[in-house]
Amino acid sequence: MKATVLVRPKQGILDPQGDAVESALGHLGFSVSEARVGKVVDLEVDASDATEARVQVERMCEQLLANPLIESFEVEIHG
């Protein structure tokens, strides 16, 4: 079962990478008032259904893929 994890810097966490991207987009002439840079993790999970896959992936996020102090995560199950 395919799953995607989106890991984002939490609100209020200074994200210098996002700031650099925002500034670079400004130099290209785009009008952007905020950019935040996170991570995408694509997974192929062995699970019998979407519910089980979601439970597993959320545990992966809690234990390894995201650090709760600084990052939030979102799980997408693609079936």
């Binding site: 966490i13 200074l14 210098p16 650099a20 991570k39 390894l64 893929l65 650090n67 102090l69």
Partner: protein
């Protein structure tokens, strides 16, 4: 009777870089420096452990995130739980934070630039096994070399750490954007310390500073006392 030589382990992960410097510095400060391989599930008989700098497991995902699950790190966590002395330097500090032995997390430097230079540090407390040779308020000079050294914790956690006196070293000048210029913190019990600067690179005047020896010699001395207590 000659004073006993304490055994201080240094863990080598794939990607560790400063393990040999740490072993050399500890031996120069009269410890028996013991290399520990990351696959070891049980630590040899040790009086203290150092987690060195570098880029363990390529620092993939987040610095220290993978090393946290290595067999040797699990053994180090048990060692710390039992009251053993553990010092994490740079990547070692990142690993200890990811493992939950120390509070906070280390993020990309505010400047996005790798910073590599000598920095002045203020010692916030001298009553720890790692700082007994320093004096509270003293400024020592030790090099940093990191791209991900910006220590962060939410404000309520920082207040709690300040109240518990867990902030041990502070940059005397802005370095990487760390909250309150925090360079090193300890756990509540005071037997685990992590810092971004590298004391093992400053143990001889030929290296530009010998101030790092104040920290490592404190550790060796504390480890020696533990050996003596067992005799």
């Amino acid at each position: 009777m000659a004073s006993p030589q304490p055994r201080v382990g240094v863990v080598t992960y794939p990607g560790s870089q400063d393990d040999r410097d740490a072993l050399w510095a500890l031996a120069a400060l009269d410890a028996e420096a013991v290399p520990v391989w990351h696959e070891e599930r049980e630590l040899p008989d040790l009086d203290a452990v150092v987690l060195p700098g570098g880029f363990s497991y390529g620092d993939y995902l987040r610095c220290g995130a993978i090393a946290r699950f290595s067999p040797a790190t699990t053994a180090v966590c048990e060692f710390a739980e039992a009251g053993g002395l553990v010092l994490g330097i740079c990547n070692g500090f990142q690993i200890l934070c990811e493992a939950g032995l120390l509070p906070g997390v280390l993020l990309r430097n505010e400047s996005l630039r790798f910073v590599c230079r000598d920095v002045p540090l203020v010692v916030e407390r001298d009553d720890l096994p790692f700082t007994s040779r320093c004096a509270t308020g003293q400024t020592i000079v030790i090099p940093v070399k990191h791209g991900d050294g910006r220590w962060f914790a939410p404000p309520e956690l920082v207040r709690e750490l300040e109240a518990n006196r867990q902030v041990v070293f502070r940059y005397a000048e802005a370095c990487n954007g760390s909250v309150d210029d925090i360079a090193g913190v300890c756990n509540e019990r005071g037997n685990v310390l992590g810092l971004m600067p590298h004391p093992e690179h400053a143990v001889d005047p030929l290296l530009g500073s010998a101030d790092g020896a104040l920290i490592l010699a404190s550790l060796v001395e504390a480890a020696r006392k533990r050996v003596l207590a067992l005799i």
